[in-house]
Subunit: 304 residues, 2 copies
């Protein structure tokens, strides 16, 4: 047995899972300082890589300028979210045509100072991580409780041709929160689209938590808050992939999910935060285990 | 109707509860910098007020000294937890006799770098907040689920003669984690002592979370991590005060608890964090409400 294997055998479950959370928090305070601040109306709402800042300042000249401190700001003469959004849109489309913004979705994301606060700008979703703007999503833990009380989690396998994280294991249902949609509404919509969960069942999804992280994603500062939902499903319910984004669904015991997360990188990274939060809330991970406090605190490291 | 009443009527539940969490986080980074670091074996484990640092350096001269940077450190020639604990104990008793340390309990608390890490020193519990050392406790949400699915929380009223927070509303059971005891064991012990919950029922308490805070408490830096447990009780169970610390128990609907917390300071401050965490996990507070993200993130502000 190798030295590494010996060491890992003595680690607690929280210690074995900690690397999955750390992998989502790869923007350290020092790394964050190397990004270019993105300012709207005097508020810092994002973080651009220096190379993207250069490209954006040129392509989106009608909307953006460099301020005295070197930050990229939306021109102050644009005083409303509508005016700013109209001014920046052509430049973002040009950056798409130039191959700078990839994965265009024709989906609008709002930029604000914090969750539920005034919307300052609306941009195409594919530009959100390049702008380093906080994004929000919903993740649904779909689970069943067996007759003996044990729980099993429905796990999706992402389609092999999916643009992001192809083939990785994923939640029953997850999706970005579009502009103007309440999280509860988004859950019902995604349940239907991604797993053919009827609305009568989807409305039972219970909001239970929020996790957050700041991740270096292709060199960008991806800052997300994920709203976590628990959806207890009937034992005979079988989800069906509907929109081509999911290849298949499979049910895992919670112990098997923990083991899979601890020993592989098979799960989509940010799903690990939501599943670890599930394991904490349902008592599968306990404060009798070393590393519990650090694990729990690491689930919400990035402030809104 | 006053201007204040008009304004509060438009706030969401998370926004109305936020002040209860803020009241537990009154040590700002700036305030923290005004404390004197407490160092053991090169690790910062606490924060002393300047006046207590002066008193402790004199009374505990056998164990403590000022380092070159102005911090208070345990003398480096004391190389084990036992040696340090033996050396500091007489000085702490003298500070008790001089009226500096109040509320002596004859209960030993361990000081470490973080939860589950090597114990560096053991001190009397009454000195923990004066030393600004991280302490750990268990809090149990005792609740019942009625036939219609709604939940009610058992709430204790602290005895009027209790030394800390007399007469305040409290959890079914809560207590500091003594040296060497696992949280799960502490829950069972406190359940029996504080509410006459039999062991067969107490072992069903499920670990669900941890909250943390850094509070200015009588001028000291009180830094606590509370392990949260949910204990679902039979509808006909009635807790009985056992050790004189609780005056009475009463069952509240969750809505009534939220309203009481939002409109009064009747609950012991740190209980509010644990109860708000309960409300989040059980879906009584939702991300459809403004202020949700801030509320959830504020529950674990102080790192271990």
């Amino acid at each position: 047995m190798s030295a590494t294997a010996t060491a890992s055998a003595t680690l607690s479950a929280p210690q074995r899972l900690q690397p999955r959370i750390d992998a989502c928090n790869t923007i350290t305070p020092e790394a964050y300082a190397s990004f270019v601040p993105f300012i709207i109306d005097g508020h810092r709402v994002g973080a651009l890589t220096p190379w993207f800042a250069e490209r954006a300042l040129v392509a989106c000249e009608a909307a953006l300028e460099r301020d005295a401190g070197g930050a990229v700001r939306v021109r102050p003469e644009l005083t409303t979210a509508d005016a700013r959004s109209r001014a920046i849109a052509p430049g973002l489309r040009k950056l798409r045509d130039d191959g700078v913004i990839t994965g265009w979705r024709d989906e609008i994301f709002p930029c604000a100072m914090g969750y539920g606060q005034e919307i300052l700008l609306r941009v195409e979703r594919a530009s959100v991580s390049l702008l380093g703007v906080r994004a929000y999503g919903v993740h649904v833990n779909g689970y069943v409780t067996l007759a003996n009380g044990t729980k099993e989690l429905w796990v999706a396998r992402r389609a092999a041709n999916k643009q992001t994280f192809p083939g990785k294991l994923d939640h029953l249902v997850a999706g970005g929160l579009p502009d103007g949609m309440a999280p509860s509404e988004c859950v019902v919509k995604e349940c239907g689209e991604e797993a053919s969960v009827p609305e009568s069942l989807a409305v039972r999804a219970k909001p239970v938590s929020a996790v957050s992280y700041a991740m270096n994603y292709n060199g960008c500062c991806k800052r997300d808050v994920l709203f976590c939902y628990d959806l207890e499903l009937p034992e005979d319910f079988v989800p069906v992939p509907d929109d081509g984004e999911v290849e298949s669904f499979e049910r895992f015991s919670i112990e098997a999910v923990i083991e899979r997360m601890a020993t592989t990188e098979d799960f989509k990274p940010n799903c690990c935060l939501v599943i670890i939060d599930f394991c904490v809330r349902h008592g599968y991970i306990t404060p009798d285990q070393a590393g519990y406090v650090k694990l729990v605190q690491s689930l919400r490291l990035a402030n809104d």
